[in-house]
Structures are given as C-alpha cells and as structure tokens.
Amino acid sequence: MKALLPFPLLSATLLAVWLVLNQTVSPGHILLGSALALLGGWTMTALEPARSRIRRPRAIGRLFVLVLADVVRSNIAVARIIFGVPRRSITSGFLDIPLELRNPYGLAVLACIITATPGTLWVGFDPARGILTLHILDLIDETTWIDTIKGRYERLLLEIFE
C-alpha cells in the first residue's frame, strides 16, 4: 500500500483537481485522473520531501475562519490607508518576531497567511535562530502585531503540525 500510494493526500488532491478542471465525474476521467494521481505520487518520492502528519484536522477549520475574517478586516484597513485623506504619514517598517514553529509545512502555511492578509509581508525566516522578519504597512504598535502572529496563527499551526 505504501509503495503504491506514497503520498495519499497529494494523490487525492491531484485526482480532485483533474476532475474539477474537466468538470466531470465520468468513469473514464476518474480512471485517467487516478493514473495521473498515482504517477504524481511516485514522482514525488524522487524529490524526497520532509514527512509530516496533520495531528488536529479540526483546528484547520478554525484557522480558516480566523484567516478569512482577518483577510476581510485587513483589506478594509489597507484600502483606508490608500485613500487616507488627508494623508497622514504612514509608519511602515520591518519587524522581527521569534517563532517556535519549525515544521516546514507549518511555515509554508504561515507564509501564505501572512501574504494573503494585506498590510503584512513575509521578508525572511532565519531557521538557525527561529526569527521571522516581516514588513508591516501600519506599524504603530509592535506588540499587537507580535501577539497577532504568535497568539492567533502560530498557536493553531503548532496544534495542527507539531
């Protein structure tokens, strides 16, 4: 089983993408998509990605809702800064945040979240010291931002991946 399906989640995703792209659930396409999914899984073994397990699938839902709310809020905040009349001086700047998260998939998800919320941008991560560098458009209060990243996202990601 392990030799046939080395990455079950990846293969399932590939099959789902194939069916959605072709907009059909006909047996022929399911067969073709399954063949592609198996092939994709075998190709992935050659790349030897780091293995990881999702420990708390239920936390994913909570994280998704949290991120969705934050995306809407920060969209409004950034739109307000862009249209700011009269334009106040924006205090943007770089911010270093120490992280406990080390799982590469957790970090990748965190990068997606931080980039998807306008107003924050991932600049770099130093794996040796565990320090994440962000650029923040509206950097008035550093502790609020550190609390947001660490308290809201990192805690849930640690629950999910570690």
């Binding site: 993408v17 959605v20 792209l21 907009q23 995306v71 809407v72 969209n75 950034v78 739109a79 862009i82 249209f83 334009r87 924006i90 943007s92 700047g93 770089f94 911010l95 270093d96 990068a111 997606c112 931080i114 980039t115 998807a116 919320t117 306008p118 107003g119 924050t120 941008l121 991932w122 600049v123 770099g124 991560f125 130093d126 010291r129 320090i131 560098t133 650029h135 458009l137 950097l139 550093e142």
Partner: protein, 132 residues
C-alpha cells in the same frame, strides 16, 4: 445594446454586486501603487487585488455559470487556490531582491528596522557589478 447573460433577477443582482466589489477592490490596490511613496509600502497594495478582489470576481463567476448551466460550476476555485499559493512566493522573492539591491548600493538607511536584522545570508552574498 449591452451584452449580458440572461439570468434570473436574484442571480443577476448578486453577480453584479460581486463583480463591482471585486473590481473596486482591485482598482483600490492598483491606485495604491501610485499613491504610496516607498517601494516597501507599494508592495502591500496589489495584495488587495490578489486576495479579496480575485475572490469576489470568482464568486460572481461561480454564481453566473452555476445558474446558466443549472449545475454547480466550481472550477473557478482552482484559480483562487493557485493565486493563494503562488503570490507568497513571488512577493517574497521580489522583496528579498529589493532588499539585496538596496544593501548592495548602501542605501539601506532609508527604511526603518524595529529590531536587529536577521538577513545575514543576504548581506554576505557576493557583490557583483549591477546596474539598475
């Protein structure tokens, strides 16, 4: 005569609402490219278009085609997933390239660090001759 698909009233109004919201947010983000003064501030602006702007237009497209073809049409979700996964990669690379170029040219003083830099690997990269 303005061409538009023949939808029932509720679907037409919902589609119109989401298309306008999405286009408006994208326009706001692109105007940010003009209004903000520093490169590192301008990088934030287009993310309005790549997050909610795209999502709203895609929702409008899903509503329109699902009603037109009387079955769920959800392949637009693929674009949302693709954009969410690729935007971080391109923006992180772009910001790192900009930081590197600023360091090489020695004008790293015109932006503000709130804490010590963690980008030692960037500063120690070989400095070749680069013109903008």
């Amino acid at each position: 005569m303005i061409a538009s698909p023949d939808l029932p009233a509720w679907a037409a109004l919902l589609t119109a609402l989401f298309v306008l919201l999405g286009a408006g947010l994208t326009l706001t983000g692109s105007l940010g490219l003009l209004r903000l003064r520093q490169f590192y501030e301008r990088v934030h602006a287009p993310t309005l278009g790549t997050t909610l702007g795209t999502v709203f237009v895609l929702i409008a497209s899903i509503i329109c085609f699902s009603v037109l073809q009387t079955r769920p049409v959800v392949h637009e979700i693929l674009i949302a997933v693709f954009i969410t996964v690729t935007t971080p990669v391109s923006l992180i690379l772009l910001v790192r390239a900009a930081l590197f170029r600023d360091r090489v040219e020695g004008n790293a003083r015109n932006f503000e660090w709130r804490a010590p830099s963690s980008e030692r690997n960037v500063t120690s990269a070989p400095t070749e001759d680069r013109s903008s």
